[in-house]
Symmetry: C2
Subunit: 204 residues, 2 copies
DNA sequence: TCAGAAATTTGCCTAAAAGGCATCTTTGCA
DNA sequence: TGCAAAGATGCCTTTTAGGCAAATTTCTGA
């Protein structure tokens, strides 16, 4: 095994903390959750929480960070002769095809839960942290694209940004859509649009 | 005049605080600036600073927020019969054609200043706030696009995201590029790429 | 298997930030 | 000109941020 017990435990703690942070925040609202509560929920000391994350928001965003990094890893793992956009779609699909709730993850699309998520993402500090998470993920993704395509400079970063855009737009629409639409569908549609170059829309 | 003295003064205070926050941070680094210092620099009380901004990072990002909102306003002000991408380019151009330093604003592209900016944007909390600022700006921009094109749902948001992507990529490249390139050039190139749909790149 | 090295967790402590509330000033308007 | 609304300020309490060192756990090589 490449990773020892130490590394695995650290990963587990990280996930436990992040998950606890999300759950408590969805239940009570960000302002009513002390990092002390989160630490207690995950079974570590307050000080240890702080060793992992420097804010509640960072803990909450961590789940998205991890997911984003997995997508970038997946992209690197795709066959090198696969067309770029095929590989991109496959990488994203590996994270979103199943757990269609997007944010919710393991949870079923529970009414209460979704409402909590909607409320949660209105928190300014959390918006910032999520945005940062996606930006960081974009950098990773851009590196992967650069390696795969052998390009440098503006292009790989733009591809990453544009893919991130599709994801952001899909999430925004997923949160707003009523009746609800599946994240997989939204993502797919968004990727179609951006990869086609967003021409002037047909009026409707 | 549409705005009275009260409103104007508030705006001035906001700008003074934001500018002071940026300058002090570039000089000393975010960790060595207390909000007390920023308030003093702008000639208001610490408590007043807090009425305007809820964190140092927010104060710093405020300049970008304002700029972004001006761009969205500009887009709304463009003639309705202008093609979408023409209007978009013009709106962005109105903010970036002149002050090519992008971040620096009024400052000449001073070595020390640019180094300070580079250092500043490595601060995690600031990255989050900046990302949030751009996301919020994107929402405004999307609304403007929706009104202009008469579309709803995914499309206007995607346009906004993609334009934001171009801006983000241009800024990232502007910060990294050596020898330096002008922000106007980078933005223009980035917009060309995204509006053309980011096809598979030519290897080079 | 075991002792020492390295990494992690934790408690303790101080500075700073966050933000509620009451009060005092300034600006806007009839 | 005088009142009402909005803003600035001071004060106070809770929470967060993070340095430091002791204690604990995992890893490594002999």
């Amino acid at each position: 095994m490449a990773v020892g017990l130490r590394e695995r435990k650290k990963q587990e703690t990280r996930i436990a903390l992040s998950w606890a942070a999300v759950r408590l925040t969805v239940e009570r609202g960000l302002a009513n959750v002390k990092i002390e509560d989160i630490a207690a929920e995950a079974g570590v000391s307050l000080r240890t929480f702080r060793n992992y994350f420097s804010s509640k928001a960072e803990a909450i965003a961590a789940r998205e960070v991890d997911r984003s990094l997995r997508i970038a890893d997946e992209l690197r793992a795709r066959p090198a002769d696969e067309p770029l956009w095929t590989a991109i779609r496959a990488s994203i699909g590996s994270e979103f095809a199943l757990g269609e709730t997007g944010h919710g993850g393991e949870q079923p699309p529970d009414e209460r839960w979704l409402a909590g998520i909607r409320l949660m993402v209105t928190e300014p500090s959390l918006q910032g942290e999520l945005a940062r998470a996606y930006a960081a993920a974009g950098a990773e993704f851009a590196d992967a694209v650069a390696d795969r395509t052998g390009t440098h400079g503006l292009y790989p970063r733009l591809v990453a940004e544009v893919v991130g855009s599709a994801r952001a737009a899909a999430i925004a629409e997923w949160l707003r859509a009523d009746p609800p639409r599946s994240m997989a569908d939204l993502l797919s549609e968004a990727l179609d649009l951006v990869s086609a170059g967003l021409p002037e829309p047909e009026q409707h």
